[in-house]
């Protein structure tokens, strides 16, 4: 099975019905993407497929053949963190941190669709991403910070 992960072509020998999350974590050692519920109910496993957010725990790897996957490891540009990641730190968004890679990937997808989101937009986009520490107000703040910075950067 050939596809691209974070700009690098990979070829894995796994059954086609293997969840993408398993392939990322166990075969490609990209453990930033987390297993939460295994049934698309929590959002911890969110990655991008051709630029759109998907839940990797319910995506058979056969569906990504020949396509481009982006994980949390692929957001930064070298040592330069993505504006969302920097805003996450500045707003102290994570508490235990387990959900944050999924939250961040959903936030990036949101800002790609809506560069200046309202609170309602953020709630609509990230409601399926659960945070058991309930840091939702800080997540919102981080997204607003990142949106402002990305707007300023043009």
């Amino acid at each position: 099975m050939k596809f691209v992960v974070n700009g690098t072509s990979v070829d894995v020998s796994v059954p086609g019905d293997t969840p993408l999350l398993w392939v990322l974590r166990d075969h490609l050692d990209l453990t930033g993407t987390k297993f939460g519920c295994g049934m698309a109910q929590c959002g911890a496993c969110t990655v991008h497929l051709d630029g759109r957010a998907i839940r990797s725990c319910v995506t058979p790897v056969v569906e990504v053949s020949g396509r481009a996957v982006r994980t949390i490891e692929g957001l930064a540009d070298g040592e330069q963190l993505h504006p969302i990641q920097e805003a996450w730190i500045a707003a102290a968004a994570p508490q235990c941190g387990y959900c944050q890679s999924g939250q961040i990937m959903s936030a990036v997808a949101l800002l790609a669709a809506v560069p200046s989101p309202t609170d309602a937009d953020i709630d609509a986009a990230l409601s399926p991403n659960l945070c058991r520490c309930a840091t939702y107000p800080r997540i919102r703040e981080a997204i607003h910070r990142a949106a402002a910075r990305m707007r300023d950067a043009g």
């Binding site: 969110t46 998907i54 949101l110």
Partner: protein, 200 residues
Amino acid sequence: MRAELLFSLLVCACTASFAAAAPRSSVPPAPALAPLPPPPTVPREVGLASFAGVLSVLQSPRCQNCHPAGVAPLQTDAGVPHSMGITRDSPQVGLDCAACHREVGLDLPNLPPASPHWHLPPAVQVFEGRSPAALCAQLLDPAQTGGRDLGALREHVKHDPLVLYAWSPGGGRTVPPLSHEAFVESFGAWVDAGAPCPAR
């Protein structure tokens, strides 16, 4: 005789007037008439009975849940609003239906149902709460069927993967009350009867 002469002069005057205003060569052709529908080959009573079968499928949970009256798709046989605050506007904030409803289902319990191109239809395509007459009229109005005429709808119910999903939803979900074959047959019989609509 005088009356005939007057009439002839009037005709000449009118002809001359029209000829001056619009030369004969530039008169646009009459618009083509829409072809008449073929005559019904199935009795109206049979058509109405067939539509009742079609209706029972369209308003079953597997079909109706994604043709809701409100902004949120529905879930389960009870038709409760989709969890997580999902609405038809979710894709506009980067959250596609296909984020969770993938093309290929995994053989694991409790997963979201899967089918190619999982999406909500346009907001006008409502099955929930529609009377038989209203739903019938909806199917006859291309503005409410995504531009599909009856022939295209017939193909849609026969082949569209998202329609076919209803009969293999997995996860212990119920299926529509008619088999897919019987549904397609009923739909066809309704169309062949001239697509009659119930009074109410």
